[in-house]
């Protein structure tokens, strides 16, 4: 069957030539491959070794636990709890929109979060844009917009079930991982909640702040409150775990060298836990008393200081909140609820940020101004006829009382308004040439009003000391407002107003435009107690390192010293006010300690009065000054004074004692 055609000269020159060319091609192919291999493996091998190693090693940041916060006796106020957080790495999510959406939807189910699209805001202010997104999708996209390469914690405190589910199905959730996290825990919940601030992922502004230099995006840092101020101490040093992963990103279990996380330093506070708890409770007591008298008391604040050095022994604001909800990550809805009129702004620290008319508690300041400027002296007697007149203005004592002849001590003890209207009138200076007012304004500022106290708790309100300049500022504001919104919508100031003697008289009894925070008032009374040292209040005492070593003690030198003439006379007035015949005698009857105090009842147009009480006890071992306000709580003796008595009782006797209601209706 073999075709004769298939017989041929076995090595015809043409065939040999073609075979040689084919061999040449084969030789060339082998040559190219060899040279390429030489280039890859011998010449650039080390570069590929490095790439292979960066392929397989993933660096996982181990979050360092923050330091704890303790009170002055070592009771833990803020501690850590270990939890598992669910983290999304945006770059490793599916690239296509549909796949990404589906994955985040499944993740929402696993974490028990809503999958219903809700409003999601990008940016802020006028440039803000809104989209409808699932909450988790919203969190991821917002973070990508702000910090493109940072991981996003979508659930700081995942349940055990969710953790197990996600770990077992890692390959179904690319870009989703679980991390050990430590969460803040506040064992005393509402007590002192406004002091601590919160922690959270570092934001874009903080990353630009030099104070946070070297901090990686996605780190947990303190925000606001003590967490923010002492973040440098509380923040630990994050560790790095280097784990080998396969192409799917799953850990292979092989351990590589790691750097351990170093816990932050503990922060010892000057707060006394028992006093803090009693204070928080006392605010409620004061409000309850006010309610019983028909006043709509809706919030309050107290500050307790050591008048020697400004250590804050207690500080509280009511209503309060449970900061533990922030540790778990708070939803926009809950956050809005916490910042609303319905909840009465529990996040707001009324002790430092709240400013109020202080009423009669300002009278010692007026006294100091009058004595120092020589418009009054300690022996001079004022004959009260129940009214004070200046031009066509007529002012009366509260409740229409007539006290007859009173000296300064008695005027303070009985809180005689006309006496101080008179001083206010005497202390007035013409507005022309005195834009910052006269001695009264000067002394108010000396005591620390109208400017921050320098407490280690930002933000802090400055308060207002009214003077001619202040009136002009308000009028400028009024004009600007009228230009923008029309006259009818602006009720800031009257444009034809000028500073009058009446304004100074109002200031003399802590009324008018005067505003101060409870903390400022406590500092001012501290100066009266300690003989003229205006302290700089502070809460942080020391940073405590591992093995209880003190890393740093936070010294807080006094803001200034002032020389108050005839101080004992003013002090005597405060002492007498808690004794028989004084405005708060009934509340402090039988207290057993020398209490120096002053009621305050600040009138606000159209609203019930602010109930104030400020007191100090010059105990040689444990001196204390306490300022307390009950918003819309009525007379000072009715709501605030009983609260202060409980706080002092806690401090000296270890228990708040019984509630002693007051009935004095003087200011």
């Amino acid at each position: 069957m073999i075709d004769p055609e298939d017989r041929r000269a076995q090595s015809s020159p043409q065939l040999a030539m073609r075979v040689a060319i084919l061999g040449g091609i084969a030789f060339a192919i082998f040559g190219i491959i060899f040279f390429r291999l030489w280039f890859l493996q011998v010449l650039s091998g080390d570069q590929y070794v490095a790439q292979a190693s960066s392929n397989r090693v993933r660096t996982v940041v181990v979050q360092a636990p923050r330091g704890e916060m303790t009170d002055r006796n070592g009771n833990v106020l803020v501690e850590n709890r270990s939890a598992v957080s669910v983290v999304v790495t945006p770059q490793r999510l599916p690239q296509d929109e549909a796949g990404r959406h589906a994955l985040l939807r499944r993740l929402s189910w696993v974490l028990g979060r809503s999958t219903r699209p809700a409003d999601c805001q990008f940016g802020s202010g006028d440039t803000a844009t809104h989209r409808m997104l699932m909450p988790i999708e919203c969190a991821v996209d917002q973070s990508v917009g702000a910090l493109p390469y940072a991981d996003v914690v979508v659930q700081p405190d995942a349940s055990k079930a969710a953790y197990t589910y996600l770990s077992e199905r890692a390959e179904q959730f690319p870009g989703v991982s679980t991390e050990d996290a430590s969460l803040r825990e506040y064992p005393y919940r509402e007590v002192g909640a406004q002091l601590f601030g919160t922690v959270g992922q570092i934001d874009a502004d903080q990353l630009r702040d030099p104070a946070f230099r070297g901090i990686r995006g996605g780190s947990i840092v303190g925000k606001g409150g003590l967490e923010g101020v002492y973040d440098h101490y509380l923040r630990g040093v994050d560790g790095e775990q280097r784990i080998q992963v396969n192409a799917q990103g799953q850990p292979t279990g092989k351990r590589l060298p790691e750097t351990l996380a170093r816990k932050g330093n503990d922060l010892k506070l000057s707060i006394d836990l028992r006093l803090e708890q009693a204070g928080q409770q006392a605010l409620k007591t004061g409000e309850d008393l006010a309610h019983g008298l028909g006043n709509p008391a809706n919030g309050g604040a107290f500050v307790a200081l050591d008048p020697r050095d400004g250590e804050v022994l207690g500080m509280g604001s009511d209503p309060s909140f449970d900061p533990n909800i922030f540790a778990k990550g708070v939803s926009d809805r809950v956050y809005r609820q916490l910042n609303s009129t319905e909840s009465n702004f529990p996040l707001f620290n009324r002790a430092t940020q709240g400013t109020y008319a202080v009423g009669s508690t300002f009278k010692p300041v007026t006294s100091a101004a009058a004595l120092s400027s020589g418009v009054w002296d300690v022996n001079r007697v004022y004959d009260d006829i129940g009214t004070w007149r200046s031009g066509d203005q007529v002012r009366r004592n509260a409740g229409g009382a007539v006290y007859g002849p009173v000296d300064l001590t008695q005027a303070i003890a009985k809180s005689v308004d006309t006496f101080f209207y008179n001083l206010g009138g005497l202390l007035n200076v013409p507005p022309e040439g005195h834009p910052n007012g006269g001695p009264l304004q000067e002394w108010a500022r000396k005591f620390g009003f109208g400017r921050p106290t320098g407490v280690d708790l930002a933000p802090e309100a400055d308060g207002t000391v009214p003077d001619p300049h202040h009136i002009r500022l308000l009028q400028d504001e009024q004009r600007a407002c009228e230009r923008r919104h029309g006259k009818a919508n602006c009720n800031i100031a009257f444009l034809d107003d000028t500073w009058t003697i009446g304004d100074n008289a109002s200031l003399a009894i802590g009324q008018g435009d005067f505003l101060a925070s409870p903390l400022q008032l406590a500092v001012a009374y501290g100066a009266i107690e300690n003989g003229g040292t205006v302290v700089r209040p502070h809460i942080g005492l020391a940073a405590i390192g591992p093995d209880e070593r003190v890393i740093e003690r936070f010294d807080s030198p006094p803001a200034r010293r002032i020389d108050i003439p005839d101080l004992p006379v003013i002090q005597q007035g405060l002492r007498d006010s808690t004794l028989a015949g004084g405005t708060s005698a009934d509340v402090f009857a039988g207290f057993g300690k020398e209490v120096f105090g002053k009621t305050g009842t600040a009138q606000i147009t159209g609203k019930p009065d602010q109930s104030w009480y400020v007191a100090y006890v010059p105990d040689p071992v444990r001196p204390i000054v306490v300022a307390c306000v009950i918003q819309n709580g009525g007379f000072g003796d009715q709501a605030a004074a009983p609260a202060v008595r409980q706080i002092l009782s806690q401090w000296f006797y270890g228990h708040p004692g019984r509630v002693v209601a007051g009935s004095s209706t003087t200011t």
Binding site: Q10, F30, I33, F34, L37, G45, R56, Q244
Partner: protein, 398 residues
């Protein structure tokens, strides 16, 4: 092919080792079993975690394929390949039938598959089709030997090859289709088709490649699926690390490059072990060798291929008839082209085509096809020896 004394001694060894009737090329066997051994070790080390509870699953199967393949090779080598010329039409029809059957089964199961599931392995007609096409084409070319210079002959042979390639291409198996075309071209060239025809065909392919990859997509006509275009052009821009193709190419280059001179060994071959290297027991087996044994290992594998290519090349001039020469040429083209494309892909100088590395890649169909081809080569060798035995051996030694 220069060192005559060595060659002579090799020939002497061949003579004493193999009796004329059983004549097998021992050097080719060295190359083949050397590659099989390296393949088994490389697969064994890189697939231990792929099948749970059976770390040696792939290695054991590969050994089984090699054993079956060796038996097939030995069996074929005993027959005179020349008799296959009579069945060229039947062989071609069989090849077409297999491929059509695959397409029909794929359509029935609504899946794009280029294989048919058999109890022991996946039968892949496009693989076996390579050898069948080579046999059939060799037969057709020899039939028209007198009119080889005519354009008509070239066109007919190419149509036979392209028809088969088209069937394979839609399966979709672009890689095997290109093997078909390359084999046909090489066989035509060796048979003595005019150089102008060959040049014309090459120009035609070049033009159609440009049309399919560049012009047609620009005009909105997509002949190939986007992922196929991607795979074909990915190696040209390796730094655009965005899609799967360039990812695979980069991982393969990292694997080979990180092997450096002597390799990272089994324990530290992280690219393979941690699955960064895709398809490491099939398409990217050469990268496994490169990572584990470095330049030394890769060079050893290439040397064994060079040995195989040299021994096959030698058969072209040694075969007792043109049919044998053409079969050897077709098989040589198949082996060399697959080696070039597969290794070229792993080192980043060739596109991803899904072409396996003969004797190295895991897979029953690939092994069976290669061993059938090797059996044919051994048959050509044996028949040449017998023919020379009757005519004297002087020519063989030249």
């Amino acid at each position: 092919m220069s060192a005559t004394p060595i060659k002579r001694s090799v020939q002497d060894a061949t003579r004493t080792f193999a009796r004329p009737r059983l004549g097998l090329d021992p050097l080719m066997l060295v190359a083949v079993f050397g590659l099989v051994a390296i393949s088994v070790v490389a697969i064994g080390g890189s697939t231990r975690t792929l099948v749970r509870g059976a770390p040696d699953y792939y290695a054991h199967r590969q050994i089984a394929y090699a054993v079956v393949g060796t038996i097939v090779m030995l069996a074929i080598s005993r027959f005179d390949y020349s008799r296959l010329r009579e069945f060229k039409i039947g062989v071609y029809a069989l090849m077409i039938a297999f491929n059509v059957l695959t397409l029909m089964l794929a359509a029935a199961t609504r899946g794009a598959r280029s294989w048919i599931a058999l109890p022991f392995f996946r039968f892949q007609p496009s693989e076996l089709g390579k050898v069948l096409l080579i046999i059939a084409l060799a037969g057709f070319i020899v039939d028209r030997l007198r009119r080889l210079g005519e354009r008509d002959t070239t066109a007919r042979i190419m149509l036979l090859a392209l028809g088969a390639a088209a069937l394979v291409m839609v399966q979709p198996d672009l890689g095997s289709a290109s093997v078909y075309v390359v084999c046909a071209l090489t066989m035509l060239y060796i048979a003595g088709t005019s150089g102008r025809h060959i040049a014309g065909l090459l120009a035609l392919f070049a033009v159609s490649l440009v049309l399919v990859l560049a012009v047609a997509p620009a005009a909105g006509v997509h002949v190939l699926k986007p992922y196929q275009v991607d795979r074909l052009t990915g190696f040209l821009h390796p730094s655009s690390n965005t899609n799967l193709t360039t990812y695979q190419l980069n991982q393969s280059k990292i694997a080979i490059g990180s092997g450096e001179k002597t390799g990272r060994g089994l324990a530290r071959s992280t690219q393979t072990d941690l699955n960064f290297l895709p398809e490491h027991h099939t398409d990217f087996i050469f990268s496994v060798v490169g990572e584990r044994w470095g330049f030394v290992g890769a060079a050893a594998v290439l040397s064994l291929y060079a040995l195989l290519v040299w021994r096959t090349l030698r058969l072209l001039t040694m075969a007792k008839n043109l049919f044998g020469t053409l079969i050897a040429a077709g098989i040589l083209a198949m082996l060399l082209y697959q080696l070039c494309v597969n290794v070229g892909m792993t080192i980043g100088i060739m596109p991803i085509t899904g072409v396996t590395l003969p004797l190295m890649s895991y897979g029953g169909a690939s092994y069976l096809t290669t061993f059938i081809a090797l059996g044919l080569l051994q048959s050509i060798y044996a028949q040449a020896r017998i023919a020379q035995g009757s005519k004297g051996r002087g020519l063989v030694l030249s």
